[in-house]
Symmetry: C2
Subunit: 178 residues, 2 copies
């Protein structure tokens, strides 16, 4: 897996467009991955984001306990696996093994990076006060990686029920900071 | 403006893909609109979402006080106006007038719908406990409208600095509820 460090100040440019992400946790048994679309940026630098993980998900208790995860951003070619990952629970199976996803060692957290994804963000949970009421975990990105060999990566955005919109053309409009 | 009521159970299908939205508030002086990309779904029905509105924005105090807003989802043809709306403050100008956006009366809130947008969501703020620390407003969608005359609407997703990715092709993959 080729990986290049991405400055933390640039992380919002990956997440603000709202792509589907894969969230990996690690407990004493194994690494486990789920798919997630309910996330938003909260601050630029350090990059802080909110993530909604259902308390019905196997990931919920692990994330609450270990307070670490990796957010991996897949491209459209990985969409069939992204859906399969989202449609089964890690309680019963090893999803990395079942779906042939390749674990790569992280630098700051126990959970692994996913070699097949364009971007990998090593995160720690920094606030759990909204977990009980809304299932919202506030996480900080500690380290960000992108794969420089993937040119013009196309992300996917979930419209519900297995329908995804794929990144189309990029446009640049006149823009300045307020 | 043609508008069709959208069942609240379907609102997440508009927001989960992460499009740029326009957020309109109304105070005693005027309606004011800003652009926003930092939002996420929190629950399906009633639709609850989190929105980050900077405390430097003119909207912030109005939203905090009136606890109401309309979230309007523009299509790509509106992108030049979306950027302009996001690059000036309502403190000094009337953006609806300046950018020729058409106000349409809402059914549940004081803030108006925007005729030029594909979807309009009438919202009330239901939780402000995260406003001071994170600028997060928790809002509930009370009423949702879409424009049935806009076929195959293409949304835009902000990648930062005036770069947007436009909705590309839609794909449907085998999917079932866990």
């Amino acid at each position: 897996m080729k990986k290049r460090s991405l400055p933390l100040s640039q992380v919002y440019r990956l997440l603000e467009p709202g792509p589907v992400v894969m969230l990996t946790t690690q407990n004493s048994k194994k690494a486990n991955v789920m798919t997630m679309s309910w996330h938003m940026m909260i601050d630029f630098e350090p990059p802080i984001l909110g993530c909604v993980v259902s308390n019905r998900d196997y990931t919920f208790d692990i994330l609450k306990k270990t307070k670490e995860c990796v957010l991996s951003i897949p491209t459209v070619d990985l969409a069939p696996i992204v859906v399969k990952v989202g449609n089964c629970s890690g309680k019963k199976i090893d999803k990395f093994e079942k779906f042939n996803l390749t674990q790569v060692e992280s630098s700051c957290v126990a959970a692994p990076l996913i070699a097949e994804c364009y971007a990998n963000l090593e995160c720690k949970v920094v606030d759990t006060t909204m977990v009980n009421k809304y299932n919202i975990f506030i996480v900080e990105v500690l380290k960000a990686w992108v794969n420089p060999t993937m040119k013009n990566p196309k992300m996917i955005h979930h419209c519900g029920k297995g329908v995804f919109v794929v990144d189309g053309k990029r446009i640049k409009l006149p823009w300045h900071l307020k």
